[in-house]
């Protein structure tokens, strides 16, 4: 059977599975819609969190980015996993004990203020929308390459599927489909990785294969060989990278803190029964995520070595079929500058003849390694599972921010449970349509902004929540001032260096440059987060203490026992 047939079969089967689960687990009340009824087991929640978390970016792009960035790519590996330690130790158990539906719920109640709640809702919407548009785009890319439909139809098919189970099932439907999606995506990621690891090093475990000797009889370690190939072509040593240490440090920090501050990740911990379960499911989630995140750097090394071996200084006429296939999508281009009919892939931009998009490394890897057709199709199904599960989780945050935090808590407090459920479904529908619109007509800055969603989350939510739990005397004036300064500072730096507003600037103008280069916008979230903390702590000194009943709430959330079911009242 051809790749095309296999892809139709596997994608069709997995979609039927997701829809079946959605019908079986549809939501009947707002509590089921927002927090899946609050009775999800730690393992199911861990799997759902992992699927929710691992987006099209983790599945499709990350290994490719690492393959081209080498050591510099470590920021994503450490940043997107280390955040779970912060989440498990500093946030999840206490937020579960607090027992509400959403992140703005916590901010609004802890800081006894509608203003704080509204600021939190706005931050949640900015963060989630920037993120979801990228997911819909990912769905479109997979559809267009593997099912030969154009990107726009791909986005629309994806929209209909997500709409179906997010609107019908709410958190309950999403949680159980995400469990299935986790299984699909991890299987799809590991199978080709194991095959290629055996091919190149003889070791079936990619994490070990990465540090093993190459199978080509040279006796060299794989990483040594790749370092050698890279420097030969004029690139940096693969294991060294080129970013300044301060940039690596701040980007890692912004990604870690941003992960812990992302609303669609935090709400997952409202769905378990007890505080104890919240801690355990954070651990399980990271374990399940780590399987992919420790394999990705190995895939990056295999793919980069394979790529250089296949193309470097080889004649263009002899290129295998995958090369032509990907040329068709425009993600891989060859320009024979010196007209010798051979491919020069080198660091020197004036002589380099090959441009490769990061995204195709994972998708093309099975083809480059000559794996069977069903493995290639499996990767397509896995990429779709990753993109759809994340999109659904984000849509839920958007719809609950509108129906619960805005309509129920601010605009129309006496709305019935049924009315609120309808409001939630309608806002989810509108959110899908907006997200789909951005997927079809991506504003040029989407890709740039997705990475910055972390900076925004780090600069706004993380300090407010941590101070709310660990510092009883933190008051509303401090928290609001901190969030506003944090998110505005981040928006300023991001628009200045990414879109050229406020006079613009080049990387040479980055702030905090101590000789080796300053902090890029991706890392600036760390600075904005520190500013948030400082402003909050200073403003607090000059404004009144929080009322006694709020201080009592803080005492109460620190004690794990007696967690009531999550409520919105």
């Amino acid at each position: 059977m051809t790749v095309q047939t296999w892809t139709y079969i596997l994608v069709g089967l997995t979609f039927a599975l997701y829809i079946g689960i959605a019908i079986w687990s549809r939501a009947g009340s707002t509590k089921e819609f927002y927090v899946a009824g609050g009775g999800v087991s730690p393992l199911a929640n861990g799997m759902a969190t992992a699927a929710d978390w691992m987006s099209a970016a983790s599945f499709i792009s990350m290994a490719g980015i690492i393959a081209f960035a080498g050591y510099d790519g470590s920021v994503y590996l450490m940043g997107w996993t280390g955040g779970y330690v912060l989440l498990a130790l500093l946030l999840a158990p206490y937020l579960r004990k607090f027992g509400k539906f959403t992140v703005p719920d916590f901010i609004g109640d802890r800081y006894y203020s509608k203003t704080a709640r509204i600021v939190a809702v706005i931050c949640a919407l900015i963060v989630s929308f920037t993120y979801v548009a990228g997911q819909m785009r990912g769905v479109g890319v997979v559809f267009s390459r593997f099912l030969q439909v154009d990107i726009n139809s791909g986005v629309i098919i994806g929209m209909v599927i997500v709409l179906f189970y997010a609107v019908l099932g709410g958190m309950k439907g999403i949680t159980y489909t995400q469990v299935a999606q986790y299984c699909v995506l991890i299987f799809a990621f590991m199978v080709p990785a194991i095959f290629i690891s055996i091919q190149m090093t003889g070791n079936p475990i990619p994490q070990l294969g990465m540090g093993a000797t190459v199978n080509d009889g040279s006796g060299l370690y794989l990483l040594e060989k790749l370092d050698g190939l890279s420097t030969e072509l004029g690139f940096n040593n693969y294991t060294d990278g080129s970013k300044s240490t301060i940039d690596i440090f701040t980007i890692t920090l912004a990604l870690m803190v941003g992960t812990a501050g992302l609303p669609h990740v935090i709400v997952r911990f409202f769905t378990v029964k007890k505080v104890k379960d919240a801690r355990k499911s954070a651990g399980l989630a990271l374990l399940l995520i780590a399987i992919l995140y420790t394999t990705a750097p190995a895939v990056a090394v295999f793919a980069k070595t394979n790529l250089i071996n296949t193309v470097s200084n080889q004649s263009y006429a002899n290129m295998p079929e995958w090369f032509k296939n990907w040329e068709g999508t425009g993600l891989l281009t060859f320009d024979d500058k010196n007209n010798d009919g051979k491919i020069q892939y080198v660091a020197d931009k004036t002589k380099n003849e090959l441009t490769i998009d990061n995204d195709i490394m994972v998708l093309a890897n099975p083809e480059i390694a000559n794996l069977p057709a069903w493995v290639i199709a499996l990767v397509a199904a896995g990429g779709l599972a990753a993109a759809l599960s994340t999109a659904a989780g984000l849509l839920l945050v958007i719809s609950s921010s509108v129906s619960h935090d805005l309509i129920k808590k601010i605009i129309k407090p006496n709305i019935s449970d049924k009315g609120e459920l309808w409001a939630a479904r309608i806002s989810a529908t509108i959110a899908v349509i907006i997200a789909g619109y951005f997927g079809i007509n991506p504003p040029g800055f989407v890709a740039a902004v997705v990475a910055l969603a972390f900076g925004l989350a780090a600069a706004s939510f993380f300090p407010a929540i941590v101070l709310g739990i660990f510092y009883k005397k933190m008051n509303k004036e401090g928290a609001i001032a901190g969030m506003v300064v944090g998110i505005l500072l981040m928006l300023f730096y991001m628009t200045k260096f990414k879109f050229g507003w406020f006079g613009g600037g080049t990387p040479a103008d980055y702030w905090f440059n101590f000789g080796k280069g300053g902090i890029s916008p991706e890392g600036f979230g760390s600075i904005a987060m520190i500013a948030n903390f400082i402003v909050a702590l200073v403003v607090m000194r000059f404004t009144p203490e929080p009322p006694q009943d709020v201080q009592d709430i803080v005492e109460d959330i620190r004690i794990p026992s007696g967690a009531k079911e999550a409520t919105g009242h």
Partner: protein, 86 residues
């Protein structure tokens, strides 16, 4: 201060102590071994891996997973000690 409050304060103090210890390890393996001292650790080679590079792309992630499970165990014990388990 009532007996109940004293117990809650003592529990919280122990909890914060655990957090400080665990987060110091979290910082040491990622920002320490993987970033600040990466070049020094790269002098040491284990199998095909330079040690600093290994911490940045593999080791720190393994330690993160272990840290959370150690935390879960410690807290379950602590909850029991203070009678907050359920």
């Amino acid at each position: 201060m009532s007996e109940k409050q004293k117990k809650a304060t003592a529990y919280w103090k122990e909890n914060v102590r655990y957090l400080i210890i665990l987060l110091s390890i979290w910082f040491a393996v990622s920002y320490g071994a993987g970033i600040l001292f990466k070049e020094t650790l790269d002098q040491i080679q284990i199998g095909g891996f330079k040690l600093g590079f290994w911490f940045a792309q593999q080791g720190s992630i393994y330690v993160f997973v272990i840290l959370i499970f150690v935390y879960v165990r410690l807290m379950n014990k602590l909850d029991k000690k203070y009678g907050y388990n359920e």
